[in-house]
Symmetry: C2
Subunit: 254 residues, 2 copies
């Protein structure tokens, strides 16, 4: 079997933040699987074929890509951000584990990319400068109770929290509920960053204290970063403030 | 004041993983501050000046860079990986907060980069495919007890854990102690990834079950990823196994 599968993270959407490695992997592949809007960002040539699918078809998409790779094609599965963070690399691994034996023999490469929280953090200072975690707020594939347990555990232990998939049409109330829960644990003044489309023309960054944070401030393209009790905000004359997590931590603010 | 400061993450060390944005920021700056080995990776021209310093001089280095930027120079502070993850962006923000007022007026830009855990994860599958956290194991700037509290909180709540700064000559026992603590919470078979120098010529990846993980398996260039109870390992004929966190989570394995 000479087929191969490469899972590519293209970064947050600013072309200069796509690595040369990802760019080369895109140039080399023949068939592209991914969510339509991510595929639309690629500049493909006539010999390269798009197989776009809906956002929520991850496992089916992974299987289709593996099937085509097993037929000898050079297949790329494309994610925005990093392929390994709440994205297609896990779906491909899951499909391999439960799929036909020969998928395990396929040549598989994963090309990492800049994930959204890093791009957002860079736009506002260094909110991920100390211990932090990343949580998907989607309860499509895990119970909401587990998400609440995790939020409480990390907020109580002083982690900065980056929320992926904060809101969608089908999940309108979860982010508001998360802020409510966190307000019972963290100071009202804890900085919350709403980082939308970092580095893209439609970028929008907002920083509000936790007691003013509302679910409606985010959309599907937003990564939300919630500070720890030790997170600092620096006002600057004529510039947007800086938010950062100090390199030292006492845990005393808990 | 016409000076400017740019804090640049150059990625894990594989040249093709440095973003074009970071490359352009390097080309544009006149003076470079950073840990010697990171500066050594840059290809500077005759008009560009290196100001190398030791690994543990972060705040002093940030102040020196800000002082020079305030004098009108175009200064770059360089980190390996991402500048915002256990790196120089937080030190620069800290220096600005506590420094002279005019540092707040400086033109400051932070250029994100691929952080080590993403590059390591891509080499072994998708171990960060679901909720995860990043913890610095260094107790230079926080009490060891706080690190133990955090490890227990996230392991108990089912997060995958990426450990930065796992070991050094001055901190020889902490990683072994962390494995011991986690062994009381997580299954003995939990996959542990030792990802050293991902993408560089001296790369070394190892995957062992938690009950076989030892501190000596890591060095300063290693990022350690410890699975959750739901993390899966896929054996492959003639290839290294894949490790991944399933996209769905029940929390039941806790």
């Amino acid at each position: 079997m000479s087929g191969r599968l490469v899972v590519i993270g293209t970064g947050p959407g600013k072309p200069a933040q796509t690595t040369p490695e990802a760019r080369a992997a895109i140039a080399a592949a023949s068939d592209f699987f991914g969510y339509g809007p991510y595929l639309d960002r690629l500049e493909l040539n006539d010999g390269q074929t798009r197989h776009a699918s809906d956002n929520r078809e991850e496992l089916a998409r992974a299987k289709a890509a593996l099937t085509m790779a097993a037929q000898g094609r050079h297949v790329a599965v494309v994610s925005g951000g990093d392929a390994g963070v709440f994205a297609m690399a896990a779906a491909v691994c899951e499909a391999i584990e439960h799929g036909p034996e020969d998928w395990r023999a396929l040549d598989l490469e994963i090309v990492p990319g800049l994930t959204a929280m890093l791009a957002v953090a860079a736009r506002v200072g260094a909110p991920l400068g100390h211990d932090f975690c990343a949580i998907s707020l989607s309860d499509n594939l895990k119970p909401w109770e587990l998400i609440e347990t995790r939020l409480a555990a990390v907020a109580g232990a002083g982690f900065v929290i980056a929320l992926y998939n904060p809101i969608s049409r089908a999940r309108p109330w979860q982010l508001g509920r998360a802020f409510e829960l966190l307000s019972g644990i963290l100071p009202a003044s804890t900085p919350v960053v709403f980082g939308r489309a970092a580095g893209r023309p439609d970028e929008r960054m907002a920083i509000v204290p936790l007691n003013e944070a509302r679910g409606e401030m985010a959309d599907m393209a937003t990564c939300v970063i919630i500070g720890s009790p030790e997170t600092r905000l620096i006002e600057r004359p004529g510039k947007s403030p800086l938010v950062y997590a100090p390199r030292s931590a006492t845990g005393a603010a808990r």
